[in-house]
């Protein structure tokens, strides 16, 4: 179950809805949905705006990994690691003319871990939210579509 989409900013709504739908299917508590939608929206927005300069191909996959949720975002944009480029400290918005770094900060605060790796033709970001899936004791659950990675 992967969403493959030629995306521009007009698709952000649809992408957030996809996250909600898949999270529902996976049985994730709805209290967590806001964090997932926020993290995906921020990550995708940055890829579209800074990576593609507007529009480009995206893949979005939500998959259980034991009790954890992994959200994979794949693009074909120039390599960029948002974690390595996370803002140091957040400066209050009143303090400067043009505050920034909000997106990566929010993305990190909404998830437990964010991993970046360069792929052959772009980037794969893994957004991890821990302990949101209820699994049969100590099993490693493959997703229904199998677990053959990228």
């Amino acid at each position: 179950m992967t969403l493959k989409i030629r995306a521009d900013l007009g698709q952000l709504n649809r992408i957030r809805e996809y996250v909600t739908e898949r999270a529902t299917e996976l049985g994730i508590p709805s209290a967590v949905f806001d964090d997932l939608r926020l993290a995906v929206d921020e990550a995708v927005t940055n890829v579209l705006v800074h990576g593609y300069g507007g529009a480009g191909d995206l893949e979005i996959e939500l998959r259980g990994h034991g009790p954890d949720l992994h959200i994979f975002l794949r693009d074909r944009a120039p390599p960029f690691d948002p974690v390595g480029n996370a803002p140091r400290d957040l400066v209050p918005p009143g303090d400067r003319e043009s505050p920034g770094g909000f997106g990566i900060f929010l993305m990190q605060s909404a998830m437990d871990e964010i991993l970046h790796r360069e792929t052959r033709d772009g980037n794969e970001l893994t957004l991890v939210k821990r302990g949101v899936l209820s699994t049969p004791a100590s099993s490693h659950t493959p997703s229904s579509s199998g677990n053959h990675g990228n």
Binding site: L12, N13, T20, F102, L106
Partner: protein, 122 residues
Amino acid sequence: MSEKLQIGISREEGEKAVSIMRLKGSVDANTQGTLEAKAKEAIDAGSQRLILDMSGVDYLGSAGMRAIHAISRMLSPDEQGMRSPYIKVVSPSPAAAKVFKTLGFDSFIDIHDSIDDALAAF
């Protein structure tokens, strides 16, 4: 489900030159420009203070916060203070309120439970 952003604007009667913007839908990178443009219209038409009624907002991300920051600068271009006195936010969802707090905007912009409370705070 969630919708793009629609904005209704009404001008409060009285001395304070307040406009109330009712936001409905999503405030994201796609709609950030709409929000900024509508606010600019209201300001150009004479409003010196804005109330953003967020009770109808189903998504707010960093793009919305950049818009709010830009609007606060339109309203007080010279000031460089800790608190923006000319813009108030009303009834954000819990998720939206969390975004405000996470980014430190809650100490930059007042959040109120009702339009009347926001008006009284100007």
